[in-house]
Amino acid sequence: MIAFFIKQQDKLLEALFRHLEIVGLVLLISIILAFLLTILILPRKSLSNIVIQIFNIIYSIPSLALFAILIPFLGIGMKTAVFVLVLYNQYILIRSNVEALNSVDASVLEAAQGMGMSRWQILWKIRIPLAVPRMMGGIHLAVISTIGITTIAATINAGGLGKILFDGLRTMNIYKILWGTIFSAGIALAADFILRLVEALLRRWLTPNEQNEAGLH
């Protein structure tokens, strides 16, 4: 098994980096797009409900099916994969963003209003900073989901670790299946671990605890 790794090192690592490249690109686009859409739809409750509903329907379509439906229009390759993955993430991210921003304590918002802050100021200086820990929950979900669905994107020639898994299946190569499994499960678990740490740190920094308050007095 180790010998196989040494022999196929280039291929395996190339697939790993390709996978990380797709996941990184998708997340970058998804987070920016979801953030912009959230700010656009946030002031209107009915509009945000409709937008979330539409993305929910798209999200419910299995990935292999959505790839298949879009191939006639977009062709195969990495672009189609990135498009589908960004689309899926919109549901996860927009829903979590809207929930996070709406969960900010009403008394805090009233206090800000009383201080004469404009709606824009309240959004940027109060609501978003207070909502960040909860928004991270959505990003966490999106990262894990993107890593998973990217393996399936190998069916439309986007490359990545799914290619190793599918190649292993086709040629019944146990080593390929095993290394594909180790890498794909490994990066998902590693990403989960790192994000948990980041979330814990963010919560510590952003929520005022007794020590911080003691320091202020």
């Binding site: 329907i57 419910s60 379509i61 299995p62 990935s63 292999l64 099916a65 959505l66 790839f67 298949a68 439906i69 879009l70 191939i71 006639p72 894990i144 890593i147 998973g148 669905i149 393996t151 399936i152 069916t155 439309i156 799914g162 898994l165 599918f166 292993g168 299946l169 146990i174 299946i177 095993l178 594909g180 499994t181 794909s184 499960a185 998902a188 678990l189 989960d192």
Partner: protein, 213 residues
């Protein structure tokens, strides 16, 4: 459009067989998952150690990509319908298990005390009070599992399980867009439809919660 019509006139029997296969595999997997997850969830609510263990293990399982779990099933279990059903059942366990635990942990203490005060035995309390109260939460878990399994069953075609995924794989192999479109749309409709039906059933069994509102 004519190509799609031509496909249906030539392959309609195979098409409906695929749909049936897909439903069969999915339902069987969920059934196995229910038989494992519900008892396990109930036992774990009484045992802290077991609870931590199952939560950790199945929590990890949820993070690993579903394709990875299906593919690794082959060297372990072989190819065909049986390993596919088993692998899908493993994917379906976490949502049902988690919801079973939540359902039994969030029972209102006052109701349990009332049952005790009425002189109900442990068995009676379980079947007449605890289980009916926890059931809607468990059902939500089952709904999530069904939708996830219908999606993953598409991938199971790669390990020889048949179903609608087979149509998509054929379409990809031949690069025939009409076959891809038929397969994709069918899976999408099946998944949305099952989700909606289970949603309705879920609303129906919890209708008592909305009385008067």
């Amino acid at each position: 459009m004519e190509k799609i019509a031509a496909y249906f006139s030539n392959y309609s029997s195979q098409y409906f067989q695929s749909v049936l296969e897909h439903l069969e595999i999915s339902l069987l997997s969920v059934l196995i998952a229910i038989l494992i997850a519900v008892p396990l969830g109930i036992i774990s609510t009484h045992n802290k150690f077991l609870q931590k263990l199952t939560q950790r293990f199945f929590g990890m399982l949820r993070i690993i990509p579903s394709l990875t779990i299906l593919v690794i099933a082959i060297p372990l279990l072989g190819t065909g319908v049986k390993p596919a059903v088993l692998a899908l059942a493993i994917l379906a366990i976490p949502p049902i298990l988690v919801n079973t635990m939540i359902g039994f942990q969030t029972l209102p203490a006052s109701v349990l005390e009332t049952a005790k005060g009425m002189g109900m035995s442990r068995r009676q309390t379980f079947f007449k009070v605890k289980f009916p109260l926890a059931f809607p939460v468990i059902f939500t878990g089952i709904r999530i599992a069904v939708v996830e399994v219908i999606a993953s069953a598409t991938l199971a075609a790669y390990i020889g399980a048949g179903g609608l995924g087979g149509i998509i794989i054929t379409g990809l192999g031949l690069m025939k867009t009409e076959i891809l479109f038929i397969g994709g749309v069918s899976v999408a409709i099946l998944s949305l439809l099952c989700g909606e039906i289970l949603n309705r059933i879920g609303n129906y069994i919890t209708r008592y919660q909305r009385i008067g509102s």
